[in-house]
């Protein structure tokens, strides 16, 4: 940690920032100042209302690890976030005493912000202009970049709140720089400036068949909804989804693809899923998980003499591949776990999981057995990606801690 106080500021080597993110707060029209001094992790803030100007001293420069999670609405981002924050320990909860409709989740280590908060057009504005929330024209990427960059550099921001119930932009909330910042939403990898400051990025790629099945499950009981309305909504949004959301997957370090099963011929119920974890090779601090032998091509049916599975069974595949012209490793699971011993058996055959103890994947899956997807590849791969992100974070922190020591020795 930095030893950074006002009295010793002369001894600091360029780890203090003075920044005036004017656009950050311009929409508020205030001109009062807030100064935040970081004192070795603790923060004494003199609040004068808003944050047009901030002085920050942080340990060795940037100290927040930023993760991007992209997916369409209703495709499991919330569940993924709950699994991810659980891997880091401690439950993520909305900010205390804040706007009850805030989209932010905060735990000891992690803050999750929803990128819908950067809508530049509210619901009425989008209706008037005839654009969807998927359209970049409805989003303020300048403000998104400024605020994510500020948080990465250890500077608190006043982030707007998009209220999903009223469709209006509510007064902003103060977001302090966390150890890990997750930005989740429709466009975390759309703007190249935002994309470049991500330490790791994930795309949840839900096939059309599964998306339809999930939305039926979510909406069918809702008054006014019917199969026709669910279908109409998906189809109306599809051109914008294809144009602005889907292309982001080429930039992701990890993609979780959710497809219908191939274990049941002509299955279109969407009950059994085939899930692929596409992991980019050569990403710093991230080494892909593998099955049996790194880099080989493997097809594995764990059910047999040693392990009995019920219909339709479980099938794994692993191997190298290319994804948008880049080298990747792909791990695939088709089918679902019905019993604990199946999960443990599978975990014991996977390598490079970044677990801290034997059985940690199984433990995490059991802890959240009530979450959607806990018995199939979506839960398994989300948990694995959570463990890889914890490992990435720990490597970055360890490297930062080592750097000043080396500098002092030299």
């Amino acid at each position: 940690m930095a030893i950074c106080t006002v009295s010793t500021s002369h001894s600091l080597h360029s780890t203090c920032y003075i920044s005036a993110p004017t656009r950050t707060t311009a929409h508020l029209g205030f001109h009062q100042r807030q100064v935040i001094f970081y004192t070795g992790g603790r923060r004494s803030a003199r609040r004068g209302g808003i944050v047009p100007s901030v002085v920050t001293c942080a340990a060795g420069g940037a100290n927040t690890v930023v993760i991007g999670l992209a997916a369409d609405s209703g495709c499991g981002k919330s569940t993924f976030m709950r699994r991810l924050t659980s891997v880091f320990g401690g439950a993520a909860e909305p900010p205390r005493g804040g706007n009850p409709d805030s989209n932010t989740l905060i735990s000891d280590t992690t803050t999750v912000i929803c990128l819908d908060d950067y809508h530049s057009l509210d619901r009425t504005g989008r209706k008037e202009k005839g654009v969807t929330a998927l359209d970049p024209a409805a989003n303020n990427f300048d403000l998104m970049y400024e605020q994510v960059k500020a948080l990465k550099d250890g500077i608190a921001v006043e982030k707007p709140i998009y209220n999903h119930v009223t469709g209006l932009l509510d007064p902003p909330e103060l977001i302090k720089p966390p150890k890990i910042l997750v930005i989740e939403g429709l466009h975390p990898m759309f703007d190249p400036r935002v994309r470049d400051i991500l330490d790791f990025s994930i795309y949840l790629d839900i096939s059309n068949e599964v998306k339809f099945a999930w939305k039926i499950q979510r909406d069918m009981a809702e008054r006014g909804h019917s199969l026709e309305s669910i279908k109409a909504s998906i189809e109306a949004r599809k051109p914008d989804f294809d144009a602005y959301i889907d292309p982001q997957k080429q930039y992701a370090d990890a993609v979780i693809e959710v497809l219908p099963t191939q274990l049941i011929p002509d299955d279109n119920e969407g009950k059994v899923l085939r899930v692929k974890l596409v992991m980019k090779e050569g990403v710093k601090y991230f080494s892909p998980v593998y099955l049996f032998d790194d880099g080989s091509t493997i097809s594995w049916i764990p059910c047999g003499r040693k392990l009995t599975c019920s219909y339709p069974g479980i099938k794994f595949a692993y191997g190298p591949d290319t994804y948008f012209g880049k080298e990747v490793s792909v791990l695939e699971m088709d089918g679902q776990f019905d019993r604990l011993d199946e999960l443990i058996y599978v975990e014991s055959h996977l390598s490079n999981l970044s677990t801290k103890f034997y059985g940690e994947v199984t433990q995490q899956m059991l802890k959240h057995a009530d979450f959607p997807g806990s018995n199939n590849g979506t839960g398994l791969f989300q948990t694995i990606v959570g463990l890889k992100i914890r490992d990435l974070y720990e490597q970055i922190v360890a490297e930062k801690a080592a750097t000043p020591l080396e500098a002092a020795k030299a």
Partner: protein, 130 residues
């Protein structure tokens, strides 16, 4: 570990909020369990998800969802690819997602659970392993 919900697929009617008089009294929550329940007898693993039942959507959001669907159907009657039509269906998606999140929030708001979060040592919060 919780007891296993072996082979159960329930479709229980959710109580509808006491809002307008013209509305039906109950809204059945359709059973579309994507997650198959464990079939094996004696399984201790509660992988099952009690997806079939859950709290009802708060009436203010529920009203907005049904109104937005009507508005979208009207907006698309003339031109099914117009910006107006697409934006209207996008609003339906946004409100449907908000309704789902609101139900999830209610699911987690058991008064005893909330009390026990702050007072884990209290008698009524003790749990027993068998």
């Amino acid at each position: 570990m919780a007891t296993t919900l072996a082979g159960v697929s329930v479709s229980t009617a959710r109580a509808a909020p006491a809002a307008g008089a013209t509305r039906p009294v109950t809204t059945p929550r359709a059973a579309f369990p994507l997650v198959r329940f464990p079939r094996r007898a004696g399984s201790r693993l509660a992988f099952a998800r009690a997806a079939a039942t859950g709290p009802a959507t708060p009436s203010n959001i529920s009203d907005k969802v049904s109104e937005s669907i009507k508005a979208a159907e009207e907006a698309c009657a003339g031109d099914p690819v117009s910006g107006e039509c697409v934006a209207a269906w996008d609003e339906v998606e946004e409100l449907s997602a908000a309704a789902s999140h609101a139900r999830d929030k209610l699911k987690g708001s058991d008064p005893l659970e909330n009390y026990c979060k702050d007072n884990p040592e209290a008698d009524e919060c003790r749990t027993y392993e068998d």
